[in-house]
C-alpha cells in the first residue's frame, strides 16, 4: 500500500510543480538556517570533557569581601580566580583526588636549529596531576612525576604542533629545549590536544581564543624562574611589592584552579574543607567578612563564566523562529494543496477507503515534501557551515563542522517537522464529505 501512496504522492506533487518547489524550498531554507545555527551552538556549548565534567570542580574563595564585588558582578560572586597564597595552600593540603593550580604563560622558545628565529609560544604552568585529571592524550612520553613538582623540575610537555615545528615530529622525549633562555628537558609530547573551549582555564583565555596550548611546564619551576603570567590579573588593592614576586605576595587573583572529586561524599568533604580553610584564615585576622565560597562543577562553572557567547544563543533562537515560520507556511500551502483535491478524496472515500487510508496517503505526501526539503536543507546546511566563517569570528566559526549526526538530524527534523505541519491539513482532508463532493461534480 505504501508503494501506491508514494506513487500517488509523486503524481500529486508533479501536478503542481510550482507549489511543490515552493514548499521544498521553504522547508530546505528553514531547516538549513536552524541546522547551521545549531552546528555553531553545538560547537561552542558542547561539553568539552563529557565523560568527566561532573567530577571536575572549580573552587572559589571570597578573599576580597564586599569591596571586591561591590559593583558590576552579580549575586556577590567571589573572585573567579585565585591568588598565589591560597592556590599554593590548597595544593599543599591536597584534598581532592587530582588537582592543579595553573596560570597562562607566553614565553619565547629558541629553536635547536640555529637558523630559525626565536618563536613565541603559549601554554600553561601546571602541576603534574593536571594531565591525569584531564585525561590529556600523549603521543610520546608522559607527564613529569609528583616529585617533579616537589623538586621544581626543569621539565616540559610540548604539543604535537610545536614538536613538529622544532623536532620535525620525531620522538623528542629526552631532548633539551631552551625556554626564556633556560634549558628544559622534554618529558612528553601531547597528541594534538587543544580543547575548545579552553575549559581548564576560562579566566585567562576567555574560553574561545585562537591561541594554542604549545607547552606545559611545572608550576613550581615557572614560579622559581619568575616566568610572569600572560593572562588576566585582577586586583582589589594595589600590590605592596613590585614585579612578579610582588604579585605573588599580593591579593591579586591570576591563577586558575581545578580539582577532581569522585563522588557526593568527596564533594561535600571538599566543601567543608574549603569553608574550614576560610574560617581559619578569618580567625587569623585575614578577613573580616562572612563565609562566601563556591564549588561549582565544570558545566556550572562554564555557565557562570558566560563561555557561550550570548550572540550564539540569540542566533539559534532566531533560526528556530525561522524554522517555525517556515513550518506554519508549509502547513498553509499543504492545506491549500490537499483541499484542492477534495473531489479526488471524495471518490476514494466513496469507493470504500477508510479515513485512516486518507490520513496515511497525505502524511506520506507531506513526508515526501519533508524528505526532499531535507535533502535540499543538507546542501544548504553544508553551504551555511562553510559560509559562517564569513560572518562569525574565526575562533568560533572554525569549530562548526558537518558530521554524520548533524546530517541525520537535518533529515529527521525536516521530515518530522513537515509531517507535523501536515497533520492539520491531513485531518481536514480526511474530513471531506464524500457525498458532497460527488454531488457538486
Amino acid at each position: 500500500m505504501l508503494g501506491y501512496y508514494l506513487d500517488l504522492a509523486v503524481r500529486s506533487l508533479k501536478r503542481s510543480p510550482g507549489l511543490t518547489a515552493l514548499m521544498i524550498l521553504i522547508v530546505g531554507f528553514g531547516v538549513a538556517a536552524s541546522m547551521t545555527s545549531y552546528s555553531v551552538f553545538r560547537a561552542v556549548s558542547g561539553d568539552p570533557i563529557p565523560w568527566k565534567s561532573s567530577r571536575l570542580f572549580v573552587p572559589q574563595i571570597d578573599i576580597w569581601g564586599p569591596r571586591g564585588h561591590a559593583d558590576g558582578s552579580s549575586d556577590n560572586d567571589p573572585p573567579d580566580a585565585m591568588d598565589y597564597t591560597d592556590a599554593v595552600a590548597l595544593m599543599r593540603d591536597h584534598r581532592g583526588k587530582y588537582q592543579s593550580a595553573m596560570y597562562r604563560v607566553s614565553p619565547s622558545v629558541v629553536p635547536p636549529d640555529p637558523h630559525m628565529h626565536p618563536i613565541n609560544v603559549g601554554g600553561h604552568a601546571v602541576y603534574s596531576e593536571f594531565f591525569a585529571m584531564l585525561d590529556v592524550p600523549f603521543q610520546f612520553g608522559g607527564a613529569w612525576g609528583a616529585d617533579g613538582d616537589a623538586k621544581h623540575a626543569a621539565a616540559v610537555v610540548i604539543n604535537s604542533k610545536l614538536n613538529q615545528k622544532l623536532f620535525g615530529g620525531a620522538n623528542s622525549v629526552g631532548k633539551t629545549l631552551n625556554i626564556d633562555g633556560k634549558d628544559y628537558r622534554v618529558v612528553g609530547v601531547l597528541n594534538n590536544w587543544n580543547p575548545k573551549p579552553t575549559f581548564f582555564d576560562v579566566v585567562n583565555t576567555g574560553g574561545f581564543t585562537s591561541g594554542q596550548e604549545d607547552m606545559f611546564l611545572p608550576f613550581t619551576r615557572a614560579i622559581d624562574v619568575g616566568m610572569s603570567n600572560d593572562g588576566n590579573t585582577n586586583c582589589s588593592e594595589v600590590p605592596k611589592g613590585s614585579g612578579f614576586v610582588g604579585l605573588q605576595q599580593s591579593s591579586c587573583v591570576w591563577i586558575a584552579y581545578m580539582v577532581q572529586l569522585e563522588d557526593k561524599a568527596a564533594v561535600s568533604a571538599y566543601k567543608d574543607y574549603l569553608d574550614g580553610y576560610f574560617r581559619d584564615q578569618k580567625a587569623s585576622g585575614r578577613f573580616n567578612w562572612a563565609l562566601n565560597n563556591r564549588l561549582r562543577d565544570l558545566p556550572a562553572w562554564l555557565e557562570s563564566e558566560h563561555v557561550v557567547p550570548s550572540d550564539t544563543k540569540i542566533s539559534l533562537l532566531v533560526a528556530l523562529g525561522l524554522l517555525v515560520a517556515c513550518l506554519v507556511n508549509t502547513a498553509g500551502l499543504l492545506l491549500a494543496k490537499f483541499l484542492r483535491r477534495s473531489s479526488e478524496i471524495g471518490v476514494r472515500r466513496a469507493l470504500g477507503a477508510p479515513r485512516m487510508a486518507i490520513y496515511v496517503q497525505f502524511l506520506v505526501e507531506a513526508g515526501m515534501v519533508g524528505l526532499t526539503g531535507g535533502v535540499l536543507g543538507l546542501l544548504l546546511t553544508w553551504v551555511g557551515i562553510h559560509g559562517v566563517n564569513w560572518v562569525l569570528p574565526k575562533e568560533i566559526a572554525s569549530l562548526a563542522h558537518v558530521d554524520l549526526s548533524l546530517l541525520a538530524l537535518t533529515l529527521v527534523i525536516a521530515v518530522v517537522a513537515t509531517m507535523l505541519a501536515g497533520l492539520y491539513p491531513t485531518f481536514r482532508a480526511s474530513r471531506v464529505q464524500p457525498a458532497l463532493q460527488l454531488k457538486t461534480n
Binding site: A33, P118, N120, D180, S242, G243, G321, L322, A325
Partner: protein
C-alpha cells in the same frame, strides 16, 4: 464597503486565514527584533574612536629575551628614534595598548581612596609626548606631556603616577563642573593620587565588549614606557604612504635589533584591520540578522502568493457570478486586497504583542535594550506592504476572471 461579505467568506476558510495571520505575526516578531539588533550593532560599529584612523598602523613587537625585559627601555627609545626618522613615517609612539585593541590594561578610577563603588573602569594607555600627534587626537584643556616625563615603568611597580591626561568623557564623569586640570584622581594607588594635567578630545578605550559600554570612552594616558614582554608601536604614515611605511617600519625595527618577534601574519596591522577585528562579532551578527530577515520576508511573501492563488482558483465560479451581476474588475481586485489587508492587520496586531514579548524576554535573559516603537512600526509597515504586494498578482488574475465562468461547472 465589502467588509461583511469578506468576513463571511473568511469563515469558510478559517484555517488558511489563521495560518497566514500567524505567519505574518511570527515574521513581524522576528523581523523587528532582528532589525533592532542590526540597528544596535551598526550604531556600535559607527561610533567614532576619536582617532584619525587613516594612515595609522600598529606593530606588535615581542621581546625575544623575555627574561631581560627590565632592560628594554633603551631599546624602545632607540626604536622610536629610528621609526620617527623614516621618510614615510610622520610620527610614532610606544605603548601597551591603544583604542579598539580589545585587550589591555584597565583600572578602576576613584575620586576618593576609600570609595567603594567605582566611578569608572578606564583604559590605561602608556604614552609619551608624541602620542596625541600620532593618534591625531586634540588636547582640549591643559597641556601635553613633555619628553622628560616619559620614564621607564617596570611591570607591576605601581607607585602612583604623578601626572596623567584623561579623555573628555572621563573628565565629564569625574569632574562634572568642567574643571579637571589640576585635580587629583586615584587611578593606580590608594595612597596618593595622580594629578590631571590635560584633557583630550573624544578618545575610545581598548575595550569593545558591550557590557562595558558605559566606560567605552574612558581613558587615562600615563607618561612612560611600560617594560613588559610585548611593546606595541603605533605609527602614523605620511599621507598616502601607508604601505611603504608599514614595510619600512618593520625593516627598521629588525635592523635595530633582531631579538624581537613580530608575527609575520598579524604582527603589523593597519588601523582599519584593528577596527574590523574589534567589531567582527557585531558585523557578523548584523549580517546574520539581515540574512534571516530577508529569507523570512521572502518565505512569507511566497506563502501569501501560494495560498491566495489557491483561494482565487477555488472561487473562480463565485467571482464569475459577481462579475456577471455587475461587479467591476476593480471591485474584484479591491476585494482581495482588502481581504489581505484585514488578515495582515490581525497578524500585525498579534505580531506586535509577540515582538514585545520576545524583546522583554531577551532583555531579561541577555541584557538587551528595550525595543523602540519605531522598529515595530517599520516592521509592521513592511509586512503590510509585503502582503499587499504578494497578493497583487493572484488578485489581478482574479479580476481577469470572465463573467462566463459563472455558467461553467466548477
Amino acid at each position: 464597503m465589502q467588509i461583511k461579505p469578506i468576513l463571511t467568506a473568511m469563515r469558510h476558510h478559517k484555517a488558511g486565514t489563521i495560518l497566514i495571520a500567524f505567519q505574518i505575526a511570527l515574521t513581524l516578531a522576528i523581523v523587528c527584533n532582528a532589525l533592532f539588533i542590526i540597528q544596535q550593532r551598526v550604531t556600535r560599529v559607527m561610533r567614532p574612536s576619536g582617532v584619525e584612523e587613516a594612515n595609522l598602523f600598529a606593530i606588535d613587537n615581542q621581546w625575544a629575551d623575555s627574561a631581560s625585559v627590565q632592560n628594554v627601555g633603551a631599546q624602545i627609545r632607540a626604536d622610536l628614534t629610528a621609526l620617527r626618522q623614516l621618510g614615510s613615517v610622520q610620527d610614532a609612539y610606544a605603548t601597551n595598548s591603544f583604542p579598539l585593541r580589545g585587550w589591555g590594561w584597565d583600572n578602576y578610577v576613584r575620586l576618593r581612596p576609600d570609595q567603594v563603588h567605582r566611578t569608572s573602569d578606564s583604559a590605561i594607555f602608556f604614552t609619551d609626548d608624541h602620542t596625541l600627534a600620532t593618534l591625531g587626537v586634540k588636547l582640549i584643556e591643559g597641556r601635553n606631556f613633555t619628553s622628560s616625563e616619559a620614564h621607564d615603568v617596570s611591570i607591576k611597580t605601581l607607585a602612583a603616577w604623578p601626572e596623567i591626561i584623561i579623555s573628555k568623557d572621563l573628565a565629564k564623569k569625574t569632574f562634572p563642573d568642567g574643571h579637571a586640570v589640576g585635580k587629583p584622581l586615584y587611578v593606580n594607588s590608594d595612597a596618593s593620587p595622580s594629578v590631571v594635567v590635560g584633557v583630550t578630545d573624544t578618545l575610545q578605550s581598548h575595550m569593545t565588549d558591550s557590557d562595558i559600554t558605559p566606560f567605552a570612552y574612558d581613558a587615562v594616558l600615563v607618561p612612560g614606557y611600560l617594560l613588559q614582554g610585548m611593546t606595541r608601536y603605533v605609527i602614523r604614515a605620511r599621507p598616502g604612504q601607508l604601505q611603504a611605511a608599514m614595510r619600512d617600519a618593520k625593516r627598521a625595527l629588525v635592523t635595530q635589533s633582531r631579538m624581537r618577534i613580530i608575527d609575520p601574519k598579524d604582527g603589523v596591522r593597519t588601523f582599519a584591520q584593528v577596527r574590523a577585528k574589534a567589531y567582527e562579532r557585531d558585523y557578523g551578527m548584523a549580517m546574520l540578522m539581515g540574512i534571516v530577515s530577508v529569507v523570512l520576508l521572502a518565505i512569507t511573501a511566497a506563502g501569501i502568493v501560494g495560498l491566495t492563488s489557491f483561494w482565487v482558483g477555488q472561487r473562480r465560479k463565485q467571482i464569475g457570478i459577481r462579475r456577471a451581476l455587475g461587479a467591476t474588475r476593480a471591485d474584484i481586485l479591491s476585494y482581495f486586497l482588502t481581504e489581505n489587508a484585514m488578515i495582515g492587520g490581525c497578524g500585525v496586531i498579534v505580531g506586535i504583542l509577540l515582538a514585545l514579548g520576545i524583546n522583554l524576554w531577551m532583555v531579561m535573559r541577555f541584557e538587551m535594550a528595550h525595543l523602540s516603537g519605531l522598529y515595530v512600526l517599520i516592521a509592521a509597515a513592511i509586512l503590510l506592504l509585503l502582503g499587499q504586494g504578494a497578493v497583487l498578482a493572484p488578485a489581478l488574475r482574479a479580476s481577469r476572471v470572465s463573467p462566463v465562468e459563472a455558467t461553467r461547472p466548477a
